[in-house]
Symmetry: C2
DNA sequence: GATCTCGATTGATCTGGGTCAAAGTTTCTG
DNA sequence: CAGAAACTTTGACCCAGATCAATCGAGATC
């Protein structure tokens, strides 16, 4: 997944089609979006936005993984969202960013300049509606995560995270395999800890425990296989299948 | 604060003016809203919506306090939002409710039937924009709370909750006093615990500790006075003044 | 006034996960 | 290939907050 060059790409053949924004756009609107967009690449570890900064763009992740985090003055940090390809970044109608956005891997963003995007949004109601739906999804995901953070044990937290990534991953691949699926963990143990409100040591211990108990299989540190998705969801304390990533 | 009778009230003189919805409506739109609205009273402890139920209305809290909660099968529950007067309830474009909504005190809701409300939303873009702003606010609040749940100590959690309620309370009263403000805690110790991901015993202990240390004063169990708001926010580990209630 | 109930407080004890520390792996670099 | 740097695992110990249990109001209800 290399960054497409700006001139060669229209919104219509964006690798990701801007699931959030373009899904219902007609040709004229796509052309308008096309006129105000540009691509930008961020290296792994590089900040994309600092909390409090003025944001002059909105956009979608084309490839790579980014995280949303909040930090206290003493350095304690909590991840509040995970951005995977096709996820939308930005707050139409808001000037400042509310969290840090950091590239975890190399990230390619397709950005729209904010002011013209907002103008377009005012003229085309379905974009506003799409953004509302999207924001409601993120709100659901955030609240689902509040239950994880507030009430689940370390083991359940890990299982919840793995189950969310697995499910998310499955929905991106054509065949939505439910068993024996495997994927690469896009996060370090430390990032997982920041997401789950744990320490990296605890994350490591619980990963080992889940492996020992046959809930997951590990190849190297990052490649994870889920022999039995139902079992994993039980471990997550999760009968229902709710839960998205913000 | 008694429930106004349906016939006597127009949206324009709703006691709360539907901060979320009506702020920018013109007369025609207010009349339309008026035609599809009705009032409903819920007793303390009564469920307003069950998670998964089909919701056929959206609306605002006129008076009283309600909570949004998520529950696991084994009974562990996490509060994911607090609804105070003027807060909006409902998910335009969604059929099912995602959480339980329960009246903590007696609650009066001003409801709009969902279908006509959505129709109105399609015709009047500023309502959709207002709802988007509102949802972004709730998302910010939820993510702020994720930091509280994931990374703060019990004492900091309590201080955070008190500071949020105090700030929220201050913004509702004409004079936004910052020091020596007092308010009635709208929550039992158990509800506070569910909000903070703690047990009620820990909540009680930390409340006693904050009282002993002069951070708060208590009259009876519920009346709280904050002699020094800055001190409270320090205790919350919160230099910034972020944080709303979802 | 006696009793019940529901919430709140306080104490004693236990434990899950944090903290501190030491190796082990993998990848990168010279 | 050696050495470094970054990430991960594992062990030993400790403590904040959970759990279990007893007591204490403050309203209700009789």
């Amino acid at each position: 997944m290399n960054a497409p060059t700006i001139s060669a790409v229209t919104c219509g053949d964006c690798p990701i089609r801007h699931r959030a924004v373009c899904a219902r756009c007609d040709t004229d609107e796509l052309n308008e979006l096309d006129a105000i967009k540009y691509y930008r690449t961020y290296e792994a570890g590089q900040p994309i936005i600092w909390s409090g900064d003025v944001m002059n763009f909105v956009g979608s992740v084309v490839s790579g993984i980014a995280t949303l985090t909040q930090t206290m003055e003493d350095g304690r940090t909590q991840m509040v969202g995970l951005l995977l390809p096709s996820d939308f970044v930005g707050r139409p109608g808001r000037d400042g960013a509310a969290y840090n956005v950091v590239a975890t891997t190399e990230v390619v963003m397709c950005c729209f300049r904010k002011k013209p995007f907002e103008d377009l949004m005012v003229r085309t109601p379905h974009i506003a509606h799409r953004l509302l739906e999207m924001t409601l999804d993120e709100l659901d995901a955030a609240r689902e995560w509040m239950l994880v953070l507030g009430r689940k044990t370390a083991r359940e937290k890990i299982a919840s995270l793995l189950s969310i990534i697995a499910r998310r991953d499955a929905s991106l691949t054509p065949k939505g395999a439910t068993n024996n699926m495997s994927f690469d963990l896009p996060l370090t143990r430390e990032a997982m800890a920041d997401y789950l409100g744990l320490t990296l040591e605890t994350v490591s211990r619980q990963m080992s425990a889940l492996k020992k108990d046959g809930v997951i299989e590990l190849e190297g540190k990052r490649r994870v296989t889920i022999p039995d998705m139902g079992r994993l969801m039980e471990e997550a304390g999760d009968d229902s299948d709710g839960g998205l990533i913000g």
